[in-house]
Structures are given as structure tokens and as C-alpha cells.
Amino acid sequence: MNEMVNGEVEKRKMSPKYEYLGQPRRQVTILLGMMLFALAGCSSAGRPLTTLEPRGVAASSIHNLVVPVFVVAGVVFVFINFGVLYVAFRFRRRAGEQDVFPEQVHGNTKLELGWTIIPALVLAGIAVGTIATLITLNAEPDNMAQDVEIRVVGQQWWWAFEYDLGRDGTVDFVTANEMIIPTGTPVNLVMTSRDVIHSFWIPALNGKKDVAPGRVSKLWMQADKPGRFLGQCTEFCGLSHGYMRMMAVAKSPGDFDQWVAGQMTKAAIPEAGTAARRGLETFTSTCTGCHLINGVNTADCTPISTEKQYDPKANTCWMGASPFTSAAQVSGAAPNLTHLMTRYVFVGALYELRNVETGALNVNNLEGWLRNPGDYKPMAPDPTRGNTYGRGMPNMKLTEDQIDDLVAYFSTLAPPSA
Amino acid sequence: MRRPTLADTLTAPAEGGHAAHHDPGHETNTGITNEKLGMWLFLGSECLLFGGLISTFLLYKKKLNTFPGFENTSIVKLGRNVFDIPFTSVSSFVLLMSSLTMVLAVSALTRDDQRRMRTWLLATVFLGATFLAGQVYEFTAFVKEGLGYTTNIFSSAFYTLTGFHGAHVLIGLVILMTMFARSLQGKLRARNAETLEIAGLYWHFVDVVWVVIFVVVYLIK
């Protein structure tokens, strides 16, 4: 998985350590022949996006609906395809056979009505199940988490997650690419987009739902057990659509509360004279046009220049740009980096920020990204197309020293407890 | 357009006369000429075109009034209040009457009454042109009040819908003027009354669309 791309940077994509999905467990389902064929080749290990192994209530109810439909379809498939083969062999005109005419049958109304009505009845049965499941999925579950709601914002080409603790309409903190949810409770997702239409999809937890600018869509998710569940944007959203992923991380309620508490703490300001402090200064002079780390801006959203200006409460700048306030069309905002070191993935959840097992920072990835973001994720069309528009992080032309300082600063970005 | 068959051409009298009594479409399975059937099919298809534009307009009229952040902007107020209903009513009436003159022209042609036919045809052109002039005036007035094509979703949808209708009126006028020119050349006779009738179908359809637009766009709140 470590590979050299463009001979420059060793870019490490997300490691395949999905705790729950990692258990090799074969799904045994009586499905179509082709699906059996498929499953023979694929245990769940190494299939992080599979739709066949639900890990949450919603995904399970979809699964339980679709498997019988697959069975019915499989029976019809066998019936028709073997039927065609059977008819072809039985009624074919053999070589040298005399040209004797078969009986000229023009039809049989009763028979034809039969094979009009019987499929209709089978489909009616499927329709009943479909409607029942639709109702389940669209109703708000009784045990919906009341202490947290997540506002999901899609943008070219990453996801922001705004946490609304207590579901009171105010955003309490913001994270990106990794969505942390508690296990055992359905969590309400309120979703929109800042630019084009995206689609939010964590296959193990629920079906997908589009997020469109100017519209709000809702989805709820519940994970049965702790685990990391990969997702992928599934509505074509432009250049790096294929690189727009997200990670849902389910934590036990205790761990979740601890994580929330950590996110609510303020970030420490590094001591003067350290590399990290120089990194903070670089950050406030270079990065805060787009990025925010809660507490390093003044209340009017300009970066602090002296330590006196430091105001830990001034953390609303990014949220002011939230599409939940107004419909902004073109991407401008970038991920909120507060407590960056609590995340394991970055750059559209495609690259490893920290090792899931050891927690070690992947310095290569971070430095490479700071050096030339376009190398990690296509963000502007080919130069041959004669235009210069771009999305996402531009190449800030940082010096190696600045990069080192920034990495030093970023590695301090964690709540005290973490 | 009625096209005489061979036998018809051979037996037809040199000038006008009784050809009108000959049923033009009797050679086809449906008894309708290809041209007339084709025109009706086209008009059926046009229903979907105008339906789409009208639905777009309705959706965006409502959106503009309710979309968060747009509730009380002056642009919204501009949206409906720029309409001058009495003025548009008169235009609608003018277009409606052009349908009458059109049908009278066709009727006169079936009798090969050239003078009346030309009069009614000219009246139709005049009324149609008046309607179009009224629309141009209306557009100019709206733009002066600040409602340009790109101002908001309402204005884009409004101008596109009424503009498409206006384009249809314009094409209709060209057709009618061609007809008039033909009649001056003496080439529009009773036996090709169906040509004028088909042109008339198109004209009436344009009118019918306006009947819908007048109510749905201008009058219903």
C-alpha cells in the first residue's frame, strides 16, 4: 500500500484496518447464482464499502428486504434463462432435418392473462414489503439520540460535520472527513451541500441520500457495535468525485462522550520560541483565509497577531460560512482543523493522517500534502484545457522550514486528554 | 395543406370553384392529409414544451416568495407587482380576436372569397403584431422597473416562458404574411384552403397557449 506516486512523495492511503469489518465472516446467503459466485470470492475482509454486510439497524432492514427480492429474481432468472436454453435445444431444427411445419399456434388468452397476473401478484407482494421498510426508514426512531445531531455538509471534495449537542439548533464544534457517532442509538443527520449535489453514503450503516445546495435532506444512522465504516460520495460532483470519501466512526457511548468532551476543550497555544509556535504564526498568516482552528482567530475572524488578542471563544467564523445560514454556491471554506490530531484520515478521507493502531502521525502524508496538495487529489482540470479554475487547497508554496513548523504545530492539535 | 391527387389535378377546373367540396384527405387511411395530421402531432408535442416552461415558472414564482433570505427583498415585490393586468387583458383580448379573424379568413377561402379572405388575413396579422408590440412594450417597462432577464429566478422563468410564446407568435406572423403574399399572387385558392387552415391551427394554438399563460402567470396569485 505504500507506493511511490510521481516519484516524489510516499503517499499512504487509508489503511484497511476497519475493526469490525476486519473480522473474516462469510455471508451465507442463498442468492442468484452470480451473487454466490461473487461472494465466493469475497469475505468481508477487504471490502470496506460492501452493501451486503449491514452493521446498523437501517442497513439491516434494507438488507432483509432485498435478500428475498434477490431470491425471487434469482428464481425467475433461472426459469427464463434455463427455459430459453431448454426451448432452444428441444425445438431446434437439427441438421438435415426435414422442413416440417409445427402447429401454427396463435396464442392462448388464458395462459397469457395468467402470466400477466401472476407476476403482478408477486410484485404486489414485493411492493408491500417495500412500503413497510420505507416507513421504517423514514420515521424518526423512538430512541433517536436527543443529545446530539450532526449537520453534514458536502462540498467539493470533502465532508464537514457540524455537531449540534442537545439538538438546540446551535453548532457546538465542527470536524471534517471523520464523523464520530455513538453506538446503539440512532443519530439524526441533517444534510446539505455548499456547491453541487453530493451523496452521503456509508454502506454498512444506511442507504445513500443526496445532499443538494439549497435543500436539506435527512438520514439517520445507527451502528450496532464500535467500528470504522468507510463511505464514498456517490453523486458525481466534479473533478475529484472519486476521491471524495468519508469515514463514520462508531464509539461506545462512554468513548463518544469522552471524545465530545475533548472536542469542546480549547486548543493550547504553544510556547513562544518553539517550532510549534512558529507553525502557529505561519498558520495564522497563511492558512486562516480558509481554515479555522477554534481560538486562533479574533472575534471578527482575522488571525491573531499577538498573544493578547487570543480569544478562545472566537470560534464562529467558519460556522458563519455554513450553508445552513445561507446558500453559498462556490466552495470557499476548508476543513476546521481544531483538534486535528483526534482524526485518523484527511484529504477526503482518502489518506492516512494517523495510524489507526498506533496513533502515530503519518508525517510523510502531512508534509507531502502541505508541499503540493494537487499531487494528492486532483483539484484543477488539466492545464491543457486552458483555464485556471480550481477547487480545494491551492499550493501555498511553503518553504521546507514552514512545512516543518506547521507539522510541529499540527501535531500539538489535540485536546489535553487525548 | 391539401395536395390534389393526380386525378384531381386533371379534372379540376382551371380556376377555383368547386374544388373545396372535394375532401382533401380521402386518399389516406385516416381521411386526413399528412400535413394536417403532422401539424396536430406537432401541436400535441408543443403541449409538453409549454407545460415544462409553465411548470418551471410556477415553481420559481413560489420559490422566490418562500425561499429563505428572499422573503422581503424588493426583487420579490417586483416579481408580481410589475404586472399591469388591465393592459395585459387588452393584449389577451387582441390575440383572442385574431383567432376569430383567422378562422373567418379560412372560412372565406373555402368559399374562394378572395377579398374577404385577404381582409381577415390582414386583420389577423395586424392583431398579432399588436399583441407582439404590446409584449415588447411590457418587457421594456419591466426592465425599466429593474426586472431584467438575469435579475432573479422569477424573471428568468417569466421572460423565458413569455419569450418562447412571443417567438411562436412571431413565427406565426411570418407564416401568415407568407400566406397573404401568396394570395396576392393569386396562388391561395379554395382548393388549397387546407394550407391556410393548417397555418390557422398553429395560430390558434399560439392563442390557446396564451389563454393558459394569461391565467396561470398573470392572474392566479
Binding site: - | 384527405g25 385516416t30 381521411g31 386526413i32 383572442l96 383567432s99 372560412s107 373555402t110
Partner: protein, 124 residues
């Protein structure tokens, strides 16, 4: 599609149109009458604009009334001026198919857009 209905028109033996020139000649007066009705209907439509002359109780029914007036005008023009009343049924069916598909499909589309309900509000 109204094609199946065309089946009734026997091929090869086209029925002769029951309307001939006499229809056109005798209809001029009808056309004028229809136009007069249309003018009155248009006037009635315009009246709804002057809300103040109507009692409030009636105003709610304006939209419905306008739609009825509109449909009547539509019918009169297409039936009389466009001769659908007298012409072959296949033409009526073709045109009606277009109208019905347009109306049904676009009404369903607007319904899916929540068009008939109150304003949709972005939740905060």
C-alpha cells in the same frame, strides 16, 4: 398515445368526411358568437384582478374560477376555431394525449416539489 383508437378507422376504405364546405360556410356566425363568449370570459377573468369590488368570502375561489374560465376558453377555441368538434376523432385524440400527458406529468412533478404546501424552511 391514442394510436390504438385509430384502429377504428378502416384502412383502405377511408370513411368520407361528413363535413364538407357547407360546414365552413354555415359556421361564420358560430365563430362570431364564440368570439363574443370568449371576450366575455376574458373580461370576467380580468375582473378578478380588481379584488376590492368582491366580498372577501368569494376571493378564495378566484383561482378555481379562473381555472374554470381558462379551461372553457381553451375548449371553445380548440373545439370551434380549430375545428376539433367537426374534424376526425384521431386529431382530437392526438392533441388530447399531448395535453393529458403534459398536465398529469407536470402536476405530479410539481407535487413532488411540494408545490401545494406552504414554504419549505431550511431548518436551523
Amino acid at each position: 398515445m391514442s394510436v390504438e383508437t385509430v384502429a377504428t378507422a378502416t384502412a383502405g376504405h377511408p370513411e368520407h368526411a361528413e363535413h364538407g364546405a357547407e360546414v365552413h360556410e354555415s359556421h361564420d356566425r358560430t365563430y362570431v358568437k364564440i368570439a363574443a363568449i370568449l371576450a366575455v370570459l376574458t373580461f370576467m377573468e380580468m375582473l378578478t384582478y380588481f379584488e376590492s369590488i368582491f366580498p372577501d368570502a368569494i376571493e378564495r375561489y378566484f383561482a378555481l374560477a379562473l381555472l374554470v374560465l381558462m379551461s372553457t376558453k381553451f375548449y371553445l377555441i380548440s373545439a370551434y376555431f380549430m375545428h376539433l368538434r367537426w374534424d376526425k376523432p384521431v386529431l382530437r385524440r392526438v392533441f388530447l394525449t399531448g395535453i393529458v400527458i403534459a398536465v398529469v406529468v407536470y402536476l405530479v412533478a410539481l407535487t413532488v416539489f411540494n408545490f401545494w404546501n406552504g414554504p419549505e424552511v431550511m431548518p436551523r
